[in-house]
């Protein structure tokens, strides 16, 4: 998020414009999303029963994060430097650590 804030034009190119490009660029975007899903999926290791949450959950969360970032960039949030990191962390933490821990993330101060 800090990188996006520092360079909104590049953020728009990497997150928004890539969707209108060829399959090569979109494959790279998908690989990035898979990497994000891998990180999120690590949340299963925090659980007593890791198998109780599926890999699919991590992929939905990664998609939710990407979709939110995409929408916010298109809406000019990045240029206005409006922070929404806490909301992204909330959705990433929720399936693994529960509502209370996720809500705690909403209280974390912005990066700046």
């Amino acid at each position: 998020m800090r990188f996006f804030e520092e360079d909104p034009a590049r953020a728009r190119f990497l997150v928004v414009e890539v969707n209108g490009t060829g399959s090569g660029a979109q494959s790279r975007r998908d690989r990035t999303l898979q990497g994000l899903a891998d990180i999120v999926d690590g949340g299963r290791e925090e659980l007593e029963k890791p198998e109780s949450v599926s890999r699919c959950t991590a992929e939905i969360v990664a998609g939710a994060i990407y979709g939110t970032v995409l929408g916010r960039i298109e809406s000019g949030y990045i240029e206005r430097r409006e922070d929404f990191l806490a909301e992204l962390v909330y959705i990433a933490v929720l399936p693994y650590l529960g509502s209370r821990a996720a809500e705690d993330e909403l209280l974390v101060q912005p990066l700046r």
Binding site: N19, C56, T57, G63, L94, S99, L107
Partner: protein, 249 residues
Amino acid sequence: MVDQVAKGTAKGAAKRSTAKAGEPTPPAEASPRLPAGRHGLPREFITQNQRERIITAMVDTVAERGYNATTVAHITKAASVSRRTFYEHFADKEACFLAAYDMVADHIRASMRAAAESFGDWPQQVRAALATMLRFLSSEPELARLCMVEPVAAGGEIAARHRASMQGFVQILKAGRPEHSGSRPLPAATEETLVGGIVSLIVREISAGRTADLDQLLPDLVELILAPYLGNEEAERLARSDAAPTPES
């Protein structure tokens, strides 16, 4: 008309040839090419027929080539209409795509609303609406690509229309806010984030050629969607419940 377009697509043709006893019987091919020369058909009928053929051609061509690589020439050839006829109906390729998109999106939205209204309690409304959408998309691959994948790639006005269309599901989710029992209010963008996750996963599954299996995502999607409102345990219980919910009479 969405049914007619679906029947006019390659998938629709396949479905007609494999229809089983007891299933709804699709009518004959939608909007066939009109006979050449003088045929005495009313002008209104001809115009409607042409429009449906153009939209059907748009769906098929976009499914084959993608929106960005599709040209008006591809569409007119597939629809067996002249360029002049195309421009009598649509200002440009984008307008034609939006007409097709609106038709499919309106159909999905109305189906989801009707499914949701069959239930009194919110969690089952969410499940029913989502199940309806996934069932439609998995049974209509060309229309699934048209309304879920291509708008993201097309960008501009089409992508904006797609985002606005997704607001329908956002509203269904927002109705669940009174169910939230957490110590702090839900983040303002919870619903947009959840819908973004659903859309992103569906797009990836379609792009990977797994459109027919979309309805198998239902339990995972329902669980994640309900979790912010009901808590993880209750969300999991409802999502993994084997018994299909029964609509209220």
